[in-house]
Subunit: 239 residues, 2 copies
Amino acid sequence: MTYCVGLLLNEGMVLLADTRTNAGLDNISTYRKMFTFEAPGDRVVAIMTAGSLSVTQTTIARLTEAIETQDESRSIMHAPSMLGVAEIVGTTLGEVTHEVRGKMQRQDSVSASMLVAGQRRDGGMRLFLIYSQGNFIEATAETPYLQIGEHKYGKPILDRVITPETSLADAEKAVLLSMDSTLRSNLSVGMPLDLVVIGNDALEITRARRIEAEDPSFQQMSQAWSEALRRAFQEIDAA
Amino acid sequence: MTYCVGLLLNEGMVLLADTRTNAGLDNISTYRKMFTFEAPGDRVVAIMTAGSLSVTQTTIARLTEAIETQDESRSIMHAPSMLGVAEIVGTTLGEVTHEVRGKMQRQDSVSASMLVAGQRRDGGMRLFLIYSQGNFIEATAETPYLQIGEHKYGKPILDRVITPETSLADAEKAVLLSMDSTLRSNLSVGMPLDLVVIGNDALEITRARRIEAEDPSFQQMSQAWSEALRRAFQEIDAA
């Protein structure tokens, strides 16, 4: 499994992905699920992936090849807007899913989804969730975050603290705590983590950080959160 | 959907169930999912249900009929031990599931599960999770709680605060907060709630309480928890 989350806030976008991939419980590997594409001043795009690795790797490979060969109709670096970027990613993901399913016995066992976040010059920041078939939905002010993969454990904290007005610093803390709850509850989501922050109108990656398993500040935050939760639990009156 | 949770603690068992049943989004009803059976001094049994209503209702009806007709081989009030109770519930649930599936086109679309908690005179408290096919697992000191239905949203709080040494008062608060997180995140889990506490060696229901949607103490706890979480979030340092 996977857990990826993206927040669309007034100050910018905060994106977080884990890196664990497993084919059965005894075949666990680390694969990057966060991919970034930049032409500073023109556009910045980040893509996070969940689902069958054969589908997501091939999709990212085709998107990368289209950029390298300057295929104007298929390159996300040529698309005129973020909507165009989402459409290219959706079309490519839908095609790859269809091809891979064609090779499988149980057709519905293969699927993948992606979060696409970014901003094009002269446009606003946008955040999309792309489904296996290539269709997609978009984050809005009412629903300022999107998740893919194992999303339930980490949802309550986001529901409680995230609004479009949340600062980037608070947002970073919130996605890390959301991931922390998921890591504790589901073994198939694992460290290290990839965190990316894209400031509004920056048109480039503002901050990218890989957080390793032994990262002392992440461990400290995780422990402080556990203690704060237990303290909060003791403080409140029972119903 | 449904959310039911049972805790097996040194001081006793704490059980909580919601009551929402839906067949599609426009057909929402309230059905009890918590059923208790008592012969004070001899035994106390509580059963919580999740899954297809046609399966769970028929299973509970057959269990009740076997008690009324004093069917010695099928009455959970005659079983010599809690293991025997779990076996009767498992057998009945497995049979009903099989029968209902036989009437359906898509056989695997019908399933149900149950939590069975109780104590027989001269035996310890026991808590079982019964699957559709009738097989079951049991709570232990290492894993002192079991959940059925929509279990993920409410798991992080239980993982953080519940051990066998947790007091009944804290346990009651924990299951209500676990339910509160689930209610916020999943519309198909709904008030009112049924809470049952069975003290160790009490051999009867120690406390049973229905919590209605407008219950002021539940609303107050829910709000205090939200505020405590937000405060805890602000207090801790980012990673």
